[in-house]
Amino acid sequence: MFALPLDLLLLFTALSPLAGILAARMRRNAISGVYSAAALAAAAVSIYPVYQGASAGAVSSIVNVGAFTSYMRVDMLAVAMSAVFLMLGVAAAVYSISYMSKERGSPLYYSLLLSMISGMVGVVYSGDLFTLFVFWEMMCISSYVLVAFSRGSGDSVEAAFKYLVMSGAGSATILLGISLLYGMSGTLSFEGLALAFGRSEPSLWIYVASIVSLVGFGVKAAVVPLHTWLPDAHSAAPSPISALLSGVVIEAGVYALCRLCFTAFLPVQSQWLPIVMVLSVVTMVVGNVMPLLQGDVKRLLAYSSIGHMGYILAGLSIGTQLALTGTFLHIFNHALMKGAAFLCVGAIIYRIGSRQIGDMSGIARRMPITATALAISLFALIGMPPLNGFISELTIVTAAFQSDLVWLGIAVILNSVLSASYYLRVIRVMLQPTASEAVQGAKEAPWLMLLPICALVGMIVIFGLWPDPVMDLMQRSAAGLITLLSQVTG
């Protein structure tokens, strides 16, 4: 019906309650966990034939269900993004098997996890704005419930309500922006929008639509004045969900902005991108100053996600092919780094039962593998040379210098220097010789948690030393995105 990975995901999501019933009958929560991990892995494998199809050019298909016709368009960028989503999804699902083993209601958790990831894959595969919006809401609604999932802590309900209100207002604003684009062009498919607006003169309404859409998608992408939901929601959620929210969900907002920038906003691009550029600098400064004040390690990582969104938006705002390559590469790398960091922190919290950095002193002696993995992912987040974060930040900075935006490049470099101060504080506390009370009885995390952590950290090192395959994939994605208009006009 849709593209193959999305079909599989939707089918598995619809069937997941059956696995839940089986798990309840046999009193084994692990069954639904294994089911969802296997479903995500199957969908990830099925990306390969789609990738082969997309390398020849974008594949479009029209799905006709009654009155509404939805339109799927799979190009290189969609394949690359969905691969990132599913990769981190598999890691989070495997991790959840042991993280959620003691929780009641875990079948519901896995159903929601599957539907959130199907929503994200749907967002990147959709070829028109309203299909994108429907999958967007599927992703959002599942994530509201997942944020509130931690049992027994009151903070999570509050955080989820705050997240729901802000993100819901953002979704309503997105819908308003979509309706304005529809009113101007009479179509919602990306190709139609590129044709309708590509060579037209800017009008008043396209300015209004571009600002309204920037606000709407900016809420989800945590652009700074609209970021206040993120630290609460990401720190209140269960750790595998924090990894997914920080690693991939907020990136879906950037994906939508990238798509719109090179289709509907082509006439106002030269005015729109400087606004994004200023916002990106503000975002990275706030995202790197606020973590200095945090004592809670999950809030620290959540704020640092805002800082990394700043780098990603900076790449988008430069707007050249090299800069967009850097943006997509950083989305991929950030998913690996932040995913690994949140999973490690989750394993530590699982063992010591506290989220304060002060309570973690000396944890490196009790949980050596987890602490080493956390240290590697934090070094990657700083942007240390042999690891993958360095490659993508270097690409963005190089693109900034090439486009004569020296101040933007320097802002990115200064911010990564600033970010070292709080990441290194976490590493220093972990290495302290005196163990705190909570750490005394801690032992190494279960192997099911270590498996996805080690896989992600392995990829951080491998793609730091040998970034060529991903770099090549992201370069083709960026080229496909920029040349969409010329592909349509032929």
Partner: protein, 102 residues
């Protein structure tokens, strides 16, 4: 009457929704504000469906029907959270609940 009057009303309605979210203390009223914003967007779709004189585009109407369903799902989740918050704290006042730092 051209669509510009309707669009002025749509933006006014959107502003009412934002105002409601920003000032109301009751969690249920905040959900109403959210619904007002979604309805502003729906109204915008309907008013822009008559781009060609004498012809009404059915695409906009089918979009609005799907969107009404989605907003129903959002409010269902929101009201569930309100019920949980009420059971835990015995109040619907959002400022009473605010123990989290912003």
């Amino acid at each position: 009457m051209g669509p510009s009057y309707y669009l002025a009303f749509v933006f006014a309605l959107w502003a009412v929704g934002i105002y409601c979210l920003a000032t109301k203390r009751n969690m249920l009223r905040m959900i109403f504000g959210l619904e007002i914003m979604i309805n502003a967007a729906n109204l915008s779709f309907i008013s822009l469906a008559t781009g060609v004189p004498g012809f009404v585009d059915p695409l906009a109407h089918s979009i609005v029907i799907v969107s009404i369903g989605l907003s129903g799902a959002v409010s269902a989740v929101a009201i569930t959270l309100v019920v949980y918050a009420y059971r835990q704290y015995g109040t619907l006042d959002i400022r009473e609940l605010k123990r989290l730092r912003g």
